[in-house]
């Protein structure tokens, strides 16, 4: 080391470096907090005052039509394959009454239960229910154990069995994680006020709305006609209701 006097003392240099380091590391964080606070404006936060749901009129669901399935695949970037290893967030189930032989068909997707078994069993809490009733999978904490698929009474969940490409920016998906209908949460959050399946249904057999708002179209309809929940015996209080079953 040299004995020459340095223009800047070591102490000053260290203090300056520390200040610069703190600025570089903290500033983006502070900036992020500002951004986050801006996004959580009053009135925009997800609230439990709202409960999003669907009412499916089985009588209106037309034989041979699967526009809702195609729309869901388009909206969420699903490939549309039907192998046992392919993801299907919504499917048309063809029904034939065992006694009378009467035929019908109905779309089945995640029923967005108020008491979802998938959320109960998930070891990491990746399966969760948002305050507005939408049941979702956090792709960052899903470890791919598939216990939720064992627990779901509606076979609503799919496991991503292969690497994925060309995903939609709004709908992150990933190999090794479980996924299911998210009630087009990205559309709801940007204020579209509907889901891809409901939008696409040519006969308006799928009605989207707020089950907690007595004035909403879905609530008014539910108060007029007899509706059923799938596997009502389980007491899960589903957000998807059926009429005409």
């Amino acid at each position: 080391m040299s004995d020459r006097e340095t223009p800047v003392s070591r102490r000053t240099l260290l203090a300056g470096a520390a200040a610069a380091l703190a600025g570089v590391t903290l500033a983006p964080g502070i900036r992020l907090i500002e951004v986050a606070q801006a996004a959580a404006e009053p009135g925009k936060a997800v609230s439990s005052k709202v409960r999003w749901g669907l009412l499916i009129d089985v009588g209106r669901c037309v034989e041979g039509c699967n526009e809702c399935v195609l729309a869901c695949n388009r909206e969420n970037g699903l490939e549309g394959g039907t192998r046992p290893t392919d993801s299907q967030w919504i499917r048309i189930v063809e029904l034939k009454d065992r006694r009378t032989g009467r035929k019908a068909q109905a779309p089945v997707m995640c029923q967005h239960c108020a008491n979802p078994p998938c959320v109960d069993v998930c070891p990491t809490g990746a399966s969760f229910k948002r305050a507005d009733g939408i049941v979702l999978v956090d792709r960052h904490t899903c470890i791919g154990c598939r216990y939720c698929m064992m627990a779901c009474p509606y076979k609503a969940r799919s496991f991503v069995h292969e690497p994925l490409t060309q995903q939609k920016p709004d709908v992150p998906r990933g190999k090794g994680c479980v996924e299911s209908c998210n009630l087009c949460v990205h559309k709801i959050d940007r204020g579209d006020g509907t889901t891809a399946c409901a939008e696409a249904c040519p006969t308006r057999a799928i009605l989207f709305g707020d089950l907690n708002d007595p004035q909403s179209a879905i609530s008014r309809r539910i108060s007029e006609v007899r509706t059923t929940q799938l596997r009502a015996d389980l007491g899960l209080d589903t957000g998807v209701r059926y009429t005409g079953l």
């Binding site: 399935v69 039907t82 046992p84 290893t85 392919d86 993801s87 299907q88 499917r91 048309i92 189930v93 063809e94 029904l95 034939k96 009454d97 065992r98 006694r99 089945v108 078994p117 959320v119 109960d120 069993v121 998930c122 070891p123 990491t124 809490g125 990746a126 904490t141 899903c142 470890i143 791919g144 154990c145 598939r146 216990y147 698929m149 064992m150 627990a151 779901c152 009474p153 509606y154 076979k155 969940r157 799919s158 496991f159 991503v160 069995h161 292969e162 690497p163 190999k175 090794g176 994680c177 479980v178 799938l230 596997r231 389980l234 079953l245």
Partner: protein, 388 residues
């Protein structure tokens, strides 16, 4: 105990051969897991219908047997059965080894095994899986403490207390494993309160069978009295499993809504009824019971009975786990249903090579830990019986 009483064999050579063999099988299993992780579960026989497959059969066998193999430790340290005393440490090491092997298979089968740490940092208190994370790690701790009390002469006086703790923990752990299935309200095969007791007796019987084989592999003669006790115990425990299995199916048969499922599993479900009746009931239960009940039964007969019990265990778990998922969920009870997602259809499943190799890798891990454990610690009274 003399230093010469090396557990596996006096010859170092044999030990290294065993390590090499186990290591190779483990490496193949890890390779299979990497292959599954790299390509995704598409390379397995599992699907959106059968979401848990062959790896889970291996993992649950290993975990359940890991609890049961401690029968020996409990007999020795809790119930004061002197005949089992020399073998209690071996049972402890086998337990830790099988628990590790089973958990390894479960973790490597995850869709995102690299996120295992998430299971520790994000804990959902309502999940039975999450409870089991605690139960399994607690089991490790309890058995390791028990082994310490056994191996360290100064701590011997606490061995009984540790043994009692282990015994209680075993029951809670196998209850927890049974509850993984018992809480699945939606599935015909699983939502039953009989499952936790069934899993408890399964663990007792299957762990006993593993111990009989491990003890025989270690070598040395066993005194006739211990042999007789082990024979009686194995026979009794296999009978108990059969009894609880019968209760499980009979209660299901009583419920009208479950009869279609029972018909599938017991009568017309393709391979599953065969595996159940021939694999589990006949080969895995009745034959071992007959073998051990004969007055002329020898050490060799006991070994055969134990091996068949393990064959039966795999048959029972295969039918329970995979057959149980193959039967379709009943979402619309009054309707015949069809869909692109195979609603109402029996799911197809065939075990794939990587799955089987991963499962065998778990067995290899258990084997390796056991062999190394026996070599490093003075836990096996090899030739002890002769010396006495």
């Amino acid at each position: 105990m003399m230093a010469a009483t090396l557990p596996v064999d006096r010859s170092e050579r044999r030990f290294w051969w065993l390590v090499a063999g186990g290591g190779l099988l483990l490496a193949i299993g890890l390779g299979a897991a990497w292959y599954m992780e790299h390509h995704g579960h598409i390379v397995t026989g599992m699907s959106n219908e059968v979401v848990w497959g062959t790896p889970h059969v291996f993992a649950i066998f290993l975990i359940v047997a890991a609890s049961g193999v401690l029968n020996i430790a409990s007999m020795a340290s809790v119930f004061g059965q002197a005949h089992y005393k020399p073998w209690s440490r071996l049972s402890g090491v086998l337990s830790v080894a099988m628990l590790a092997g089973g958990l390894m298979v479960l973790m490597l089968d995850l869709g995102r095994p690299e996120r295992m740490v998430v299971a520790a940092t994000h804990y959902n208190p309502t999940s039975v899986f999450a409870w089991n994370v605690l139960l399994y790690s607690g089991m490790f701790a309890a058995v390791l403490v028990y082994l310490w009390m056994q191996l360290e002469r100064r701590m011997n006086r606490y061995a009984k207390a540790a043994g009692v703790a282990v015994l209680i923990w075993r029951f809670v752990l196998t209850t927890g494993t049974g509850l993984i299935f018992a809480f699945l309200v939606a599935r015909q095969a699983y939502a039953s309160a009989v499952l936790p007791p069934l899993f408890i007796v399964m663990s007792l019987a299957w762990g006993m069978a593993v111990f009989v084989l491990a003890r025989a592999a270690v070598g040395g003669e066993t005194d006739a009295d211990l042999l007789r006790r082990m024979r009686n115990l194995l026979g009794l425990l296999v009978a108990l499993v059969l009894y609880f299995m019968a209760v499980y199916h009979l209660t299901n048969l009583y419920f009208a809504k479950q009869t279609a499922f029972e018909r599938f599993i017991l009568l017309d479900g393709g391979a599953y009824p065969w595996i159940f009746w021939i694999g589990y009931v006949l080969i895995g239960s009745i034959v071992p019971m007959v073998l051990v009940s004969r007055a002329t039964a020898t050490a060799r007969t006991l070994r055969v009975a134990a091996a068949l019990t393990i064959v039966g265990a795999f048959a029972a778990l295969y039918v329970f786990i995979i057959g149980g998922q193959a039967f379709p969920l009943e979402i619309f009870p009054d309707y015949e249903v069809t869909s692109s997602f195979r609603d109402g259809a029996i799911a197809a499943y065939a075990p794939s090579v990587p799955e089987v190799l991963l499962g065998l890798g778990g067995v290899a891990a258990a084997f390796l830990i056991s062999v190394v454990g026996m070599q490093v610690f003075d836990i096996v009274p090899a030739r002890a019986v002769e010396a006495d």
